[in-house]
Symmetry: C2
Subunit: 521 residues, 2 copies
């Protein structure tokens, strides 16, 4: 992906007509106010010839790339600040070289070169990071190498008895699903970044997908890992669960490439569902809908997809003239999706509907559900179109326990509105539920400060993160820590928690070549 | 509990008539061949007066006990080797003092004294450890203190919205359940040690209970922890799940008191089920029953209790003249338990029965289920009665993926039979199932080697552990590592995995006062 935009250029879109009217109404902006600065040449590759030669020995000449075009495509991730900086022509975080190992042993060979020459190594999968996890510290290093896992795309093993599959980290979501589909299997992990993000990234960042209520978070699906570290290999996964001390898998999951490079990931898989049905429900308010979600989760009746928009998000979604029920955009929209065999789906649908009706929900039929499913991966394209017309759009998310949900919502929403002013649009939805709590996912749109849109967002993000930390909630439910969330991590895990992360880092990566500056406090 | 026997002396039993006949038939043993050596006086308390004074300052004079009676009751755990050594009069592992803190801050104060005077600290809950986790290394320390959590028995918080409860670590299973029952709640964690084991021990050893199929392993129920370490306090649990780096809760779960003392544990709770129904099913063989279990787990239909005995365990269980169907002890007995609201239980029971019948199971009605439920915590009493008549009984367990189950079973059973000879009885059951795999729990009974019953068992245990490690399975599914499993841990988590545990240990407990010699390779 190009550093200035999301995804496949062929799928980039102008602002849809429905959104154009809303944007003009809300922000009064003009078209194409935020142009993209022409691409500046990158700084020359800083790596000495001997390092490049050593890397070429490790992975083959053609897989060590230092040309600007390739380096540019491996610069930063896809947060709105990332896009804003790229649009402003700032690609100063470009890696010095892009190195493409073909498997575990070549990854290990690259790490050996990195240790010998003190080169920073940034594991790179789909480039969809949104919290600065692809921006390594450069000072004190001979250079920065993007460890591009694009050649590690094999399905290494399928165990249809145990219902597990072992995958290489460079497989993008659709690639992994296509390989598994040949066996009639699916992982069931569909985050918004699904079309570009990779298996390694899902594991390294503890990703959670839109079907998490039914399939589980990605980290909860992982039963085995193979990791290349500067000190050697780690293989974990003797069993689904055990009592053989701390679960070290849980130390590498979420480690964002700072403890090692995940070279094989073994996950639980399911049969491809025969039936997928998504439907809409309306709730009088956010609290009533959230209570219904809680009831389902605690009764063991969580459907495959369960998502609830607050009043603000609902009014924007349902105000789309193409949408059903546009004459009534009140209340809160819930999306309920069931996947599985026809019998199971029918039974679950009946049981879930009984709970939702009993708690005051109004069924809206399948149209809102199908509409959500149709556009489920498109929001980042819309963000580009909005940036083009001078509207800054960004998201942030957190999670807490059910009893803390309302207060957390009020605090984060209040912080964003205070920071961005009354003209800002702040939307929220719940898209991940647990028996004991849920996530809150906020989307913000604001007319760009022409002078400093980057600073404008950073102030709002800081206020929201402070509010989250004050509430004792998590600084991130599924976006990871990267560099952006580091200032708040210690408030969540404590000084000693940070000390433990540093101790593990020192042990596995004593010269700190792996993604320096990311995650570890 | 006394170091020579399990549980409540009032519930100790002679050998039941049914078992007596079997034992005589199988082993030809006499009654009371294994007498207990009269208790020898303990070695005097090694701790200097200044250390005892400092401990008294930390927890109060009356809570620092050095009398033999108290120290004797805090010696080792309840493995058969532990009992054999105690029966032989060997209480050399008795702690020098038993210290009883009243809460987190007193635990921290004891740890400060331990660091200052280099005293080994062994956290002690119910004393039911079966892998040597209560036997700390003594060499190089001023002495060994048993940190008895018996005064930390509060239910600190109940959140009926989030369905969580925060408990102190010294609560025994029935005590915790009684406090929660006042709110209509239950943890649903019922391991065989339930009547004596504690909340802290459940978490520190990653315990798994007989209802794990329905309620989950104990570690899977934990959402929050407070830990006292020599370097200070750690509090974890911002949310049910998150992406804020590695999940450090999973580092303290299973840490067996070597990284810190768990002073508060927040767990998911459920409503007390209105209905509990347990029934029996017969399978033509172990493989057919295990495949049915796998089908249930992978279909999301796991009942609350799911347990399958192999042909050997079935023939012994059903040969009991009191048992139903004693005229036919062939095949394999499965126990299927459903708990919940009446409607839910009825629906689940129907759905599960349909799968089991379709796969060739024969329903035996509720009698075998009720019989199992009635005796579910009694096996350790029977073990004492068998030891009394010279039969060594012990258990060991492992877990792996479904595709490895049969080979693992054959290997471990073969190793035990080879090591103990044809006269040994080796039984096995599956009692914990996952979508991707299951546990295997072996029970062994053999006529005691009059000269060296301890060595007799150790040779068999070593052979079984070697077989488990050769199979790539876990050295322990729910008994923890302690000292007994340490020789095999590195084969499971690798040299680097061991190195990571040492790094965390160095960071949190730099002078190694916490349970030295346990767990960490």
């Amino acid at each position: 992906m190009h550093p200035t935009r999301w995804g496949d250029p062929a799928r980039a879109t102008g602002l849809p007509d429905g959104a154009r009217g809303l944007v003009e109404l809300a922000f009064g902006v003009d078209e194409q106010v935020m142009a993209t600065t022409p691409e500046a040449p990158l700084a020359p590759c800083a790596l000495p010839a001997e390092v490049l030669d050593a890397l070429r020995t490790a992975v083959g000449d053609e897989h060590v790339r230092t040309d600007d075009d390739v380096r540019r495509l491996r610069t930063r991730g896809k947060s709105t600040p990332d896009l804003l900086r790229a649009r402003a022509g700032d690609l100063t975080d470009a890696p010095d070289a892009v190195v493409r190992p073909a498997g575990h042993h070549e990854v290990a060979a690259v790490l050996a070169v990195a240790v010998e020459h003190h080169v920073a190594v940034v594991p790179f999968g789909g480039g969809t990071a949104v919290t600065g996890g692809l921006v390594a510290r450069r000072e004190g290093y001979a250079g920065v190498v993007s460890l591009d896992l694009v050649r590690m795309k094999r399905l290494l093993a399928v165990d249809e008895t145990s219902m597990t599959a072992t995958l290489e980290p460079g497989l993008r979501g659709p690639e992994a699903e296509a390989l598994l589909a040949e066996h009639g299997l699916t992982i069931g992990h569909f985050p918004q970044s699904f079309e570009h993000a990779t298996i390694g990234g899902f594991a390294a960042t503890r990703s959670s997908g839109q079907s998490s209520a039914g399939y589980g978070r990605f980290d909860a699906l992982v039963v085995g890992l193979r990791v290349a570290t500067p000190r050697g290999e780690v293989r974990l996964g003797s069993s689904p669960a055990n009592a053989a001390g701390p679960d070290l898998r849980q130390l590498f999951l979420g480690s964002e490439g700072t403890f090692g490079v995940l070279t094989e990931v073994t996950v639980r898989v399911r049969r491809v569902p025969a039936v997928k049905e998504y439907e809409g429900w309306r709730w009088p308010d956010f609290a009533a809908g959230a209570d219904a979600m809680r009831t389902l989760a605690q009764a063991g009746l969580a459907p495959t997809v369960l998502r609830l928009s607050d009043e603000h998000e609902t009014s924007l979604n349902l105000a789309d003239p193409d949408a059903v029920g546009s004459s009534d955009a009140s209340g809160c929209l819930m999306i309920v999706g069931h996947e599985g065999d026809a019998d199971l789906v029918a039974a679950r649908r009946t049981a879930v509907a009984a709970v939702l009706e009993a708690r005051g929900g109004t069924p809206l039929g399948t149209e809102p559900g199908e509409r959500w499913a149709h556009g489920r991966f498109d929001a980042p394209y819309l963000r580009d179109a909005l940036l083009d017309v001078g509207v800054v759009v960004e998201t942030l998310e957190t999670a807490s326990f059910w009893s803390r949900r309302q207060e957390l919502y009020d605090a984060v929403r209040g912080a964003l509105v205070d920071a961005l002013g009354d003209g800002a649009i702040v939307l929220c939805h719940v898209s991940h539920v647990y028996e004991t709590g849920c996530s809150l996912y906020f989307t913000v749109a604001v007319k760009a400060d022409a002078e400093d849109p980057f600073g404008q967002w950073q102030r709002a993000k800081t206020a929201a993160c402070d509010a989250i930390a004050d509430q004792g909630a998590t600084i991130t439910h599924h976006h990871a820590v990267g560099t952006d969330h580091k200032p708040w991590l210690t408030r969540e895990i404590g000084e000693l928690g940070g000390s433990v992360l540093r101790a593990v880092k020192r042990d596995l990566d004593p010269t700190r070549v792996l993604n320096p500056g990311v995650l570890v406090p």
